[in-house]
Symmetry: C2
């Protein structure tokens, strides 16, 4: 199959491409390389299985040119920095909502029928029951990033209902692992690299979320797509438990060997305005079609800390 | 209070302004007059209680200039033609989603804290239980208009969560009544005016939806706002029952006196791609805070048919 992966040089995208290439797909990557890294997919570029369109999902012409001859789109590109949305408020509107419009519209124009979309647990907002099932409502996101993911879901479902697209929407837990380019573990390692004597943690450390290892995430995507065939398929992807930010800080301190570092909390119940302090996805639907994770939250965190320390260097 | 009503020269907006003026508010209207009509608010413009900013919600500068000194925004402006979304696919993205971003961002910049938003039953999509409660999920709209209403809700809820806005989101049933500028009754009257011998009905006529009279709608908005004070308040607004398109056609034929007209159905279970064939809102929340409608669906339809025949002329 000829697949388009937006954000294919990025964290989740590059892991997905490893799987797609190994099952025999030909892959086009659309990436602006703002947070992606060509090193992550260089082997596939060299082998000729993957080709790169260096372009931007916010530019309709770039999307249109990447879409030629594609059978299935994996739309992963997005603003990776949720906090940025509070500073430059049209970031997620452009890189999330308008970008997703460009994708589905270019699919319609080119007759491309299948799309998988990386949505997020943050669409559920703050007051959802834990664990949160796919049929929770109303979904009232509190971050601008969350609003753009919800808008992306709605655009896709309206293209399904109006133009006959077939879609898989995945609401991800916090995805972590090798090649991570952002996120809490990444940030903690960089902070300890700068100053091994202290680690500043945003919030009171009691924020508690579910973490999923990136290999599990991309295996889950492909498993669900292989085993479902509705016009619109909606699945949470996550692990069985949660970990607190305090526990993540302890693990990262331990794994970096900065045992003497003092962990200092900035206080408050959340890392920043728009941060959901507690989140855990119900994964019953995912389990029911036969997919389970290799890592639970704490294992995934330790595995990721080790890998990122290796990648970043101390 | 100084209120901004976007789409204030339009159908619902002009009725809302009647109420706002009669309770003593000063009102700024932002309207591009594309489907609105100054005649609807001319008496208020003449009295000086209402001022007009002729501008477009898709233009951020227009929104910003209308926002000066405002205490509460009633954001009603939107593309009124759902079917247009299937032809020009960025209509709802621009006039719905991006417009709503302009509104909340201009509110943030000007320190305006309160917003009421006209959302719609179409956010629930096609497979929702009937009647549909506010906590139904997942919401998977099938029209591009529905996607833009959902995106608008998400933008507003994220501005609530991130920047401290207070919001009332109303999911409307089909609103009908005097000064209607679009919709099925309006269309039927115009068709019979052109050819009194036949009435073409899109679909098989079995589409069945809940109708609410516009006076009930704007009374409901103000009642809910006067009786709720959460940071984010979400309410369905509708009547107690439904009516079929076939029944609407019969009533309009009767009221126009075109008794001999043959009603001809184009066939299919819906009027157009993206049309939800059956919709009825659960209105328990609305009833529980003490608001009820004066008209049920069929009464509202007959009342509207009579009023629009008067306005349009035969």
């Amino acid at each position: 199959m000829r697949a388009l992966v937006t954000g294919g040089a990025g964290f989740i995208g590059s892991h997905l491409i490893d799987r797609l290439v190994s099952r025999g797909d030909t892959v086009v990557v659309l990436d602006n390389l703002s947070s992606g890294n060509l090193d992550f997919i260089q082997n596939h570029l060299d082998s000729g299985k993957v080709s790169l369109v260096k372009g931007d999902v916010t530019n309709y012409q770039d999307v249109l040119s990447a879409m030629k001859g594609i059978e299935c789109v994996f739309h992963l590109a997005a603003n990776p920095d949720i906090r940025l949305g509070t500073k430059i408020t049209d970031t997620d509107l452009k890189q999330g909502t308008i970008a997703t419009y460009n994708i589905v519209e270019a699919m319609r124009i080119n007759g491309v029928k299948k799309i998988a979309f990386a949505s997020s647990s943050v669409v559920y907002g703050e007051d959802a029951p834990m664990p949160t099932p796919e049929n929770h409502g109303p979904c009232l996101p509190i971050s601008l990033y969350g609003a753009s993911k919800q808008a992306g879901e709605g655009l896709i479902s309206s293209w399904v209902g109006t133009f006959g697209l077939q879609a898989w929407i995945f609401r991800f837990a916090n995805i972590i692992g090798t090649r991570g380019t952002h996120g809490v573990i990444f940030d903690f390692i960089h902070k300890l690299k700068t100053d091994p004597s202290r680690l500043e943690v945003l919030g009171n450390g009691l924020q508690e979320k579910s973490y999923m290892e990136v290999g599990d995430c991309v295996d889950g995507i492909l498993h669900v797509m292989n085993n479902t065939d509705q016009q619109l398929n909606l699945y949470n992807l996550g692990s069985h438990d949660t970990a607190s930010v305090k526990r993540i800080a302890e693990i990262v301190v331990e794994e970096t060997g900065c045992e003497g570092a003092s962990i200092e909390y900035t206080g408050g119940d959340r890392g920043w305005a728009g941060d959901v302090p507690r989140a855990m996805l119900a994964i019953d639907k995912m389990l029911q079609i036969g997919f389970d994770v290799n890592y639970n939250s704490e294992d995934a965190i330790r595995h990721t800390a080790r890998a990122l320390i290796e990648e970043i260097g101390l």
